[in-house]
């Protein structure tokens, strides 16, 4: 068996250098751990803010119904029960994935496309909101068939359908393409940060679209008030 060269061993094994390397290595590990912790905190913050934001949107939606039906005791009672039930589901928190993930921007970018096409079908071809959204959704649902193994194409129908909900807005709310495009951008941002939140919950895309339209309406209202 070949013996290792003594000079080589002596040159390789230098305790001071080894300790320095070990210290650098541990410092590096601690730095990575701290960065991960910081990222985790940031993701947790994004996650919490988004859940509260969506809850706020739902509260606004329900409270507006409350406001208009204060004279009807039955409706108020039903809405109160409904609010408690929704709150229980939110607090149980079994509708979110534990890991936080972001949707790819190249998926979200199709939301404005879906919104503008639906808006055109709805208002210019006079097909009505349901038919326009359903037509676009049906067409978009066949996109994955173009390349069945493409993971990217499989995600596009949901993005198109989410955009279609924005295009369903009436002309009183969304007067032009600029409004629709702005609402789509807000909705796309919400979709990006909510990949693993409310995953698989029916109505999630509609809620995101609604949030986008409400934010845009508010901004347009502010702009028209001050400009």
């Amino acid at each position: 068996m070949k013996q290792p060269n003594a000079a080589f061993v002596q040159a390789r094994y230098q305790p001071e250098q080894y300790h320095e390397q070990a210290r650098d290595y541990f410092q590096h590990l601690i730095r990575i751990f701290a960065e991960n912790l910081e990222n985790m905190n940031r993701h947790q913050a994004v996650r919490t803010i988004f859940i509260f934001f969506l809850l706020l949107i739902q509260v606004i939606f329900i409270s507006q119904i409350f406001k208009e039906h204060t004279h009807s005791l039955g409706t108020v009672a039903i809405l109160a029960v409904l609010s408690i039930l929704v709150l229980i589901t939110h607090l149980r928190g079994k509708i979110h994935h534990k890991d936080h993930a972001y949707e790819h921007i190249l998926v979200a970018v199709w939301i404005p496309v879906g919104a503008l096409i639906t808006f055109y079908l709805n208002h210019f071809l006079k097909l009505g909101p349901v038919l326009s959204a359903a037509l676009l959704g049906s067409a978009a649902s066949f996109i994955p068939n173009l390349r069945k193994h493409s993971h990217y194409l499989q995600q596009l129908p949901a993005a198109f359908y989410c955009g279609a909900f924005i295009g369903m807005s009436s002309s009183g709310v969304a007067p032009n393409f600029l409004f629709v495009a702005t609402a789509s951008i807000f909705t796309a941002l919400l979709l990006i940060i909510s990949k693993n939140l409310f995953a698989g919950v029916g109505g999630k895309l509609g809620t995101l679209a609604f949030a986008g339209v409400v934010i845009t309406s508010f901004i347009f209202f502010l702009v028209s008030s001050y400009v």
Binding site: Q58, I62, H90, A134, L205, G206
Partner: protein, 149 residues
Amino acid sequence: MYNLCILFLTGFISPILTFYVNEGLKQGPVRSSAVLSLLVGLYFHLFPQSMDSYLVSNIPIVFIGGSFIGMVSSRILSNYLLLGTAGLIFCLIYINASQFFKGYGGAVGTASAIALLAALSIPVFTKKQRLTNGIMLLRKTLFGTARRQ
């Protein structure tokens, strides 16, 4: 009253049908919702005289709203009766919907999400000890403690 019954029936059937096409026939959530809504929308677009004008304008919206509920993943909800209940809750919200948000895109989706979230908490109250169990779980969720009975 007759019109409301038809709307509630639509709200009950729509999520069940969509869920069946989605999970049973493996067509995916978007296709199952969009294609069924397209069929209903197309019917009332081509034959607007087939029913009362109130139903002609409202059935497609209730149907598409119900179909959003049916897009739910089987991981979250797979009980057809609960899906139908969520559809009925949606219909209730839709009928009492705020005039303020009329015409807002996604309002129907928001109502669907609220209806589904409400329906998802129903099993809490229908387990073995029914209401007592539900109230204990609610107390535990809200205050972090549940007294032993």
